[in-house]
């Protein structure tokens, strides 16, 4: 890895300033993606700006209707947080099956969504729950945030500060983990709020996406049986040594059904 200069600002303003002053700067959160990328020589920044010194990015708060998670909250913190577990067990358990314990102790929600790995778990939760991403500049709806593989709506130097999740009536996440990496081979997050249902799929395509046909069927009848016969076109799905596009397409259906069943148990049974 090439050397770089390192700084650890304690305010958001100082971090943004450090980034704009740098010729070639990069933010460091949990480092579980960016450090491996730098070791491979795929990134060689001159300035590394560590966000771990900014206290306001750590907080998790919850009201009856919204859970707000600071960008620097680690996966382990989210998994263990009573403020998340009580109202939204699906999100806490998603955080608790990301990677492995060591990755969860360092990796953050902000880093995960900024990176937008096509097999990452959090993007499915943000999209299915209709979360709002707050940055140092603005608010972005999850629907407008995840653009394409490793691409988001973030501008150069923009910092995610927190993610707000509206609390649904019922929700669940089902993941078929790649046995080697633990990333999602396919992951499906289902959320129902009143009569509105959202189904988001990660791992299967180049970027997280919603499945409109499933949402419409579940809005009529929130049961696993309502998904019988609904398929997702496989043309745009990922195919690699781990699974074919057809296999991934099949998993979407299986996992969506399981997610609906668990959501009914997790939720208030309405």
């Amino acid at each position: 890895m090439d050397d770089f200069s390192y700084q650890k600002p304690s305010t958001l303003g100082d971090a943004v300033e450090a980034f704009s002053a740098a010729d070639d700067g990069v933010y460091l959160a949990g480092g579980q993606t960016i450090l491996p990328v730098m070791k491979l020589g795929l990134a060689a920044p001159e300035e590394v700006i560590d966000l771990n010194g900014i206290e306001e990015l750590q907080a998790i708060t919850a009201s009856d209707s919204v859970i707000s998670i600071g960008a620097m909250a680690t996966h382990a913190t989210v998994a263990a947080s009573e403020d998340v577990k009580q109202p939204l067990p699906a999100l806490a358990s998603l955080a608790g099956i990301i990677g492995d314990p060591q990755v969860r102790n360092r990796g953050t929600i902000g880093g995960s969504i900024a990176n937008n790995d096509p097999a990452a778990d959090y993007p499915a939760a943000l999209l299915a729950l209709g979360a709002t991403i707050t940055t140092d500049k603005r608010q972005i709806a999850a629907d407008d945030f995840f653009l394409e593989i490793f691409e988001t709506a973030l501008e150069d130097g923009e910092i995610i500060t927190k993610v707000d999740f509206p609390v649904p009536d019922a929700a669940a996440y089902m993941k078929f983990a790649n046995p080697a990496s633990r990333f999602a081979l396919v992951g499906v997050f289902v959320a129902r709020t009143g009569n509105s249902v959202r189904v988001a799929v990660t791992g299967a395509g180049p970027c997280v996406f919603r499945v409109g046909d499933m949402e419409a069927a579940l809005e009529k009848d929130f049961s696993a049986a309502a998904l019988d016969g609904i398929t997702v076109p496989t043309d745009d799905l990922n195919a690699d040594i781990h699974a074919s596009a057809e296999y991934r397409g099949h998993l979407i259906g299986v996992l969506a059904k399981r997610a609906v069943e668990v959501a009914k148990e997790n939720g208030d049974g309405q």
Partner: protein
């Protein structure tokens, strides 16, 4: 070069490091504590696991400067006065290692697991070991050793 102060196995350490120095490099090369291994250097294998402020992390995936002010525990620090910890003893008795390359990381991960959860189920132990690869044992004896150590520590 940044100068950092940290505690390693209860001893305070002051070192100058480059920005790019990894925590595992500081531990092995800077401090000569070679019990912590480098298996993959790509964040996969867990041979390099140490505790930072009580939490297990992969020391190949953290910068040494990020450990400034932290309390670091390596495998050299878990055994009381040259003896074996109950977990190390259990790994020995249950044949929980063959070549031993993964063992320091296994010890650090399992020590943290048992600190957090003195009554783990076998499934919780296996979930807890997802970040530690072993190419020899097939895990079975490692899991048995951790379950036995849990019982021993509970008394």
């Amino acid at each position: 070069m940044p100068k950092i102060n940290l505690t390693v196995n209860n001893q305070s350490v002051t070192k100058e490091v480059e920005g790019r120095t990894l925590l595992v490099e500081l531990i092995r090369e800077g401090l000569g504590l070679t019990g912590t291994h480098i298996g993959c250097d790509t964040s996969q294998c867990g041979a390099c696991v140490v505790h930072v402020n009580g939490q297990p992390v992969k020391s190949c995936t953290m910068l040494a400067v990020q450990a400034d002010g932290a309390d670091v525990l390596t495998v050299e620090g878990v055994s009381p006065d040259g003896g074996l910890s109950p977990l190390q003893q259990a790994l020995h008795e249950h044949h929980g290692l063959q070549c031993g390359f993964c063992t320091p990381g296994m010890v650090m991960t399992a020590t943290a697991l048992l600190n957090d959860n003195p009554y783990p189920t076998e499934a919780e132990v296996r979930h807890g070991l997802e970040g530690n690869l072993c190419r020899c044992t097939g895990y079975q004896n490692i899991v048995e050793a951790i379950m036995a150590a849990a019982k021993e520590i509970r008394g």
